[in-house]
């Protein structure tokens, strides 16, 4: 054994086993404490965000009470603020986005997981996922200069006149372009990849046995999907939709660039409006006075709370499906 160097360990004296080399228990403790500290940064950060938002919002909530959420009056001069139009706009634009995006996203997901020929699958998936990589401000830019003129010149007249929907409250009124409809369309494009990605995953997780059972009974390919696969994947897809909702609720830049930025609750989709996020973005730098600022923060707090709840529901749904659905 003398050919392999026997280092000074044994020369240090008999109890070579008794000395802790390099004080490793200390090293271990430092390591454990450090990573625990980094991990604790997450809840602390979240708490700090909540505190920041609600503390800044408190003056407005105290002044206006729960009426803040129902009042439509937004008057910086008089010092009267109500978030109802913004809340209304957020909900309407998001739901419109889901209405447009969900069928499309599920269709794409079914296409990619069932029908797409091998050579087409990767490119299409890539293109759809690429939608998620485009920054919000780029969507907004495109929205201002391409989508809104398109809506104004072609789509809105088509809906109002050609289809005759102009008499219904949803499509009535002047169509200048920046509108709830524009916001809904842009949001739909932005949330499409998220819903589609979740739906794709969930569809792929449906066990082969379910599909084969349906086929063995004589179902056509589509009947198998509609009758056996989709019901199985249902709660996961719903989770994906709610995830998309969560994203749509918080979207700021693209919306503020195409929605027209008006404190108004209007029935028509052609009318401009506001969302909570776009309101904050738009008025923040010109906020006159502390109450105005606090009102904006209060809108932020409301948005924070709504998004929290929606995302929690979405996570729970997706999580509970991925637990049972694994093949």
């Amino acid at each position: 054994m003398t050919e392999l160097a026997a280092p000074a360990r044994t020369a240090a004296g008999a109890p070579a086993l008794g000395t802790g080399i390099e004080g490793s228990p200390v090293g271990d403790r430092i390591y454990r404490v450090s990573i625990a500290a980094f991990a604790m940064a997450v809840p602390l950060l979240l708490a700090a965000i909540a505190i920041a938002v609600f503390a800044a919002a408190w003056p407005a909530f105290r002044t206006f009470g729960p009426g803040f959420l129902t009042s439509s009056r937004w008057d910086a001069v008089e010092g009267a603020f109500g978030a109802a139009p913004a809340i209304y706009g957020t909900l309407v634009s998001s739901f419109l986005a889901l209405l447009l995006a969900t069928p499309l996203a599920i269709g794409v997901a079914i296409f990619l997981s069932e029908f797409a020929p091998g050579w087409l699958r990767q490119p299409v998936a890539f293109l759809v996922d690429l939608l998620a990589a485009i920054p919000s401000v780029v969507y907004g830019l495109w929205g201002i200069f391409v989508l809104v003129p398109l809506l104004r010149t072609h789509v809105m007249p088509f809906l109002a006149n050609t289809l005759g929907l102009g008499r219904t409250p949803l499509f009535s009124g002047p169509a200048y372009g920046p509108s709830m409809l524009a916001a809904g369309v842009v949001l739909a494009i932005m949330v499409l990849p998220y819903i589609s990605a979740v739906a794709r995953e969930v569809l792929l997780a449906v066990p082969r046995s379910q599909r084969e059972a349906a086929l063995a009974l004589g179902a056509t390919h589509w009947e198998m999907i509609w009758g056996a696969v989709l019901p199985y994947a249902r709660s996961g897809i719903v989770g994906g939709v709610i995830l998309g909702l969560g994203r749509a609720l918080g979207e700021t830049m693209a919306v503020t660039m195409v929605i027209g930025n008006r404190h108004e609750i209007a029935a028509s989709l052609f009318a401009p409006g506001y969302t909570m996020a776009s309101l904050i973005a738009n008025e923040f730098s010109e906020a006159t006075g502390d109450l105005h600022l606090s009102a904006l923060m209060a809108v932020g707090a409301t948005l924070f709370a709504i998004t929290l709840v929606v995302n929690a529901i979405a996570r729970w749904l997706v999580w509970s499906v991925s637990r049972e659905g694994a093949p």
């Binding site: 054994m1 050919e3 392999l4 160097a5 086993l17 008794g18 080399i21």
Partner: protein, 283 residues
């Protein structure tokens, strides 16, 4: 700290091909009433086993008999599993002649592991390190007592030679360790364990995932290593035990049933359970 007057073995009569007869050698590592638990479940019960210096001791037994667990108690790896604990004593005789209970309160498990090396069933070279760095890995953590850089190169070469790997890798020491074949990777792991000059080398089914040719090379290696270290091998392959070891211990359901010179155990087992196992009545 107990003076090193361990019981000496009188050279057992060895069957042909069982290796050089050793006149006297101390027990390099011994266990005394060792018990090992996973939570409440015992995996090793009251095992008292002596492994003698410059000998290969094989531990055989059916799956789940606790042989791997016993092995892992010898270098305090068992306790790295959450909820695992150990009772009893394990004594290690250091090179300078002092024997110590490695589970004593003052003993650092890391220090133990530098005296007792281990090779696992599946080769586990560090994938982000080169071949040379893999072998030297155990030396880096010696900190202040680490050998100086130029010595490290010599140690690496010697370790690779002892592991019969030098000729195959001497031109690509900087290359990735994962580019080697399975058998080469296992020999690399052996070289890595040898580099720190441990007193004892533990091998947990070292050839289980290797092809027959690599198996043979590793077995030859193990046979050679006895010249200057104590080797303990766990194997489920009785023929392998018969080929490489001087003494064999048979375990069943966590207990040490019988231990004796390899030749004696296989030709003349004292316990009927041993006989049942080696004649294949259960596996």
């Amino acid at each position: 700290m107990v003076a090193a007057t361990e019981a000496r073995t009188v050279a057992p009569s060895l069957a042909a091909g069982q290796g050089p007869s050793v006149a006297v050698s101390p027990a390099r590592v011994l266990t005394d009433g060792l018990g090992a638990f996973f939570g409440q479940t015992p995996a090793v019960r009251g095992v008292s086993l002596k492994c003698y210096d410059r000998q290969v001791t094989a531990i055989i037994g059916p799956s789940g008999c606790g042989k791997s667990t016993l092995l892992r108690c010898l270098n305090r790896m068992h306790e790295t599993v959450p909820g695992a604990r150990v009772s009893g004593r394990v004594e290690l005789l250091a090179r300078d002649g002092a024997a110590q209970d490695i589970y004593a309160r003052t003993v650092d498990p890391i220090a133990v592991r530098r005296h007792v090396g281990m090779v696992f069933q599946r080769p586990t070279p560090f994938p982000t390190m080169s071949i040379r760095d893999n072998v030297a890995a155990g030396l880096r953590v010696l900190g202040r007592s680490a050998p100086p850089r130029r010595e490290v190169e010599e140690i690496v070469e010697r370790a690779l030679r002892r592991a019969a790997l030098w000729d195959e890798v001497k031109d690509r020491l900087k290359g990735s360790a994962t580019a080697l074949s399975g058998g080469q990777q296992q020999r690399l792991c052996i070289a890595r364990a040898l580099a720190t000059a441990p007193e004892v080398l533990l091998l947990d089914e070292p050839t289980a995932s290797l092809d027959p040719i690599s198996t043979q090379r590793v077995e030859e290696l193990v046979y050679e290593l006895r010249r200057d270290m104590t080797v303990v091998v766990v194997t489920h392959n009785m023929q392998q035990a018969a080929r490489v070891s001087d003494r064999t211990a048979f375990m069943l359901a966590g207990e040490l049933v019988e231990v004796s010179a390899t030749g004696d155990l296989f030709t003349n087992p004292r316990d009927e359970r041993t006989e049942a196992y080696i004649t294949g009545r259960f596996g």
